[in-house]
Amino acid sequence: MKFFKWIITRLIFTYLVCFLVTWHFLDYRKAKENAIGETMSRFVPGIAYFNDFVDRHDHFDEFKLHQCIAYHRRVVEYFSFQKSEAYQMMGFCYDRLGNLPRAIMSYQAAREANPVYFWPYYNLGIYAYKRKDYSQAVDFFQESLQTDIKMNMVLLLHSKVFTDVRLSDGSSYNVVQGMLNARENSYIFLMESLFKLKKYDQLFKVALLGLKENSESQDIFYSYAGKAAFHQGSYEQALALLQLALQKNPQNTDALLYTGLCFQAAGKEPQAQNLFAMAKQIYQQQGSALEKHLNSTIRFF
């Protein structure tokens, strides 16, 4: 009784009573509908900025990134059907802010929200690759390549989160091409991770599978297939594949190097040395064909 008397004479009790009485009369759905609709449309950040930003790393506006995070956090809260895309945008912003743990958490949340969504796997794969966790990178890139490309296109072209960016002023970014490029990158990261893990058998299969995608960088696929064959001791097969790679791109330094190694294994030392010198010269002049792919950073579309 004494405790009860103590409780009802506290300020918190008064506030609770008022709150409960009001709650009883409140049409919460109606109040929320208006409040969320009105506030979210006023809260949309200057999203056009991201168009310019998707492929660049030389500038960013911290304020806009924070705004973008805040906005997409609310999208997650109030529009659950767009959760995966919103988390994806948050992950991107956290990444650019240098907050990698938060970025990874966001991508994981995006993956959980939509398990057949390409980009979270792709971005998580890049993080795993960069921290040299190649076996996890293999898992993520394999998952990314198993997602349905058409479904992903539909999502990219119709989700409000992305259309806000896509349709913003001055947009010239090709979403479809961006997706195809990232898919090609997924293969390359996957092959490089398998190479690093010395899983040549699997690498050979992935490289042949990748060739069916008809991507622009077919020389890289032939090169990886040749490298895998070389390490498995199939020098003739390796040589044939590497020559195909060089036909597609005579400047492919990996293919030149491994062709040289094949010649060396066959006892053709002068030819091998010739190729090594050529590979070295090209590498010094323009770097490896792989580099631009393996230096890719995370993206949102």
Binding site: R10, L11, C18, T22, D27, A31, F63, H66, R74
Partner: protein, 696 residues
Amino acid sequence: MNLVVFWIIFAFIIWISVFFGFLSAQLAFSSDAGSYFDHIKFFIENLAKGVFPLWDPYWYFGSPNDFFLRRIGAFNPFYSIISILEFFKFPFKIAYPWFLALYYWGGMIAFYLLAKRIYNNRLIAYSGYLMLLFSALGTRLFDSYMMLVTVPLIWFFYFLIAFSQTMGKSYFFGMCLSFMILAGTYIPFYFLICFFIFLVFYLVFYFKEIPEIFRRFFSFFKANKILVVLSLGLVLFSFVPLVTFFHDSAQGNIVLPERHGGIGAVGNTLIVPHQTLNWGAVEDLVFSAFFSDLRTYKLAIVYVPFCAFIILALGLIARVSRRALLMFLCGFVLFCSIVPYGLSLYDFLYKHIFFLKYFRNLHFFLWFFLIPLFVLLVLEHWKAFCDIKPLTPMHKNVILTYVVLIHALAFLFVWSRADAIPSTYLMMFLSLVFWVLMVLGKIKENAWVFAFLTLIILIQPLEVFHYLCLRAQHYNKNFSQYNFSYSTLKLKDSEVPAVSILPSDKMELYYASSNYNLVYHNMSNYALAKYLQYKFILVDHLEAIERNQVDFSQMERLYIENPNKAYIFQDKAVELITESKDPNPPRSAQRISHEDLNFKVLSFNANRLKVSVVVPYAKFLIYNDVYDPSWHVSVNGHPSHLYQANVAFKGVWIPAGKSIVEFHYGHFGQYAMNFILLIGAFAFLFGIIRYSYEIL
């Protein structure tokens, strides 16, 4: 006393340094603040010339200025601060923000005095002063006009409470002045609603004290009969301009198309349809909650230093008091009354209380009243928490645990959101130390404690406002420059060289004379721009048309082609003269340029224009300033009939030879009333200063 004065000034100096970008005109005002900048400049500079501007010739080619006078609260003697600063050669763009800052500071001092009256504790009152000074309220100086209501409202409540406790002339004058300023504003109902709710709950909770208060009021009245009657008379009189303003707006001479969201007229011009209320108090709070990452903080986001919420939480276990209930219920009931969606109370009030139809921005209540009230409630929690006296060491330990628990919960809440700024964590740590020391009885009123408290309260807002200023727009030299071309600004913005532009393609005007709105909506910008290049035109032929049957395509041709004629409305009360005496009238109307030697502007101010015109034959002079029934004209000293020419503008016949034509707006009574009220306001201010020793 000196200690508090030092810290109050010190805190304001910090506030100035935080917002110096705005005060030095490096950062620009935005939103409504820009418009208020212009209108206050117009008002002050006219007043400095002895003109009370009831007409604004620059606002969409002339509009009644009463709307803007009500918005700025014309009977506010503190505007003289601007004139004083300008007298000392400060440009207006510097004088105005400094006036705002000083005015705001005045309001914060009033809040300190109010809190001191209520809690009789300098530390608590000083904390309230800091929390309010560094709340989002101050940021609204730069994007809104909230302070023009909030500051007199705080002063009013301070004077009211002070007067109820200690009958003093300064308090009485203060009450009258703040009431008069509030009554003179655009919608005094904001204030009146707050005051009414306060009175109702005061009566409920302090019913027994009422006779005693009335007895004191009566004794004051008995001792100062003439003073009280005159003062109250003046206060009541201050409602007259408002009543006439509402009456005039009901005549339809002014329109607010943007305010009505383009849905057309709904009776009285000022009445707002329910559907424009989508942005209410709930929306404002939800929107502000979206900015929990304070790095993204911007203007118009509700913010009170976070330590206020810790104090609020600490006081939750304190005992209920009448005062706490009064404050809480005032705020709570007001809040529930301004939720247009979800609670039916607003709908009920909207239906039965006429003045609710004048409100569009219900969320303004948050800024005018609820934020200061919230800080006051926080202080009440502080007091109530401090009133918990531990009877045993065990009891003290429980309270200490509670303090630690509240801080731990606050920390967890902030941490879980993952978007807190560093100063929030630091503030929580310092707050924990402060409140532990408070429970242990180690906090005394000394310089160190004031310094510590200042640090706790200010550390977060300083970081927040740093982000705000970092993102604020820089001052542009073209911003809010008040000059003649200002009137054509909107027209120029949307001007296109094609005649075919549809009215629906045009931006809605915010506020304009209904006559101008009519031509603006029915004619192309091209035609308007071409016609309005010339302020004066002379014509020989008039054609009478029916008011409700204007052929706007014909009118547009006239605006563009400039024939020697004008359209006037058929007015049965006056015998129409439609032709001049010129035997060889020119084909085109005569547009008067600056070089014209037969035309001279003799004098011009907001309400009056005097010109001298020499014409060989009687001609019809069109003055392309918007027609309004309150305008009058005299020719050579004799009143003449003022025509509504070419739908929206003024016209008058002038005889052959030299004529002095004088246009003037309004009547003597209007000017006398405004000047009496202005002088009255200064008299009240003088009264407060004369008896200021009572306050000090």
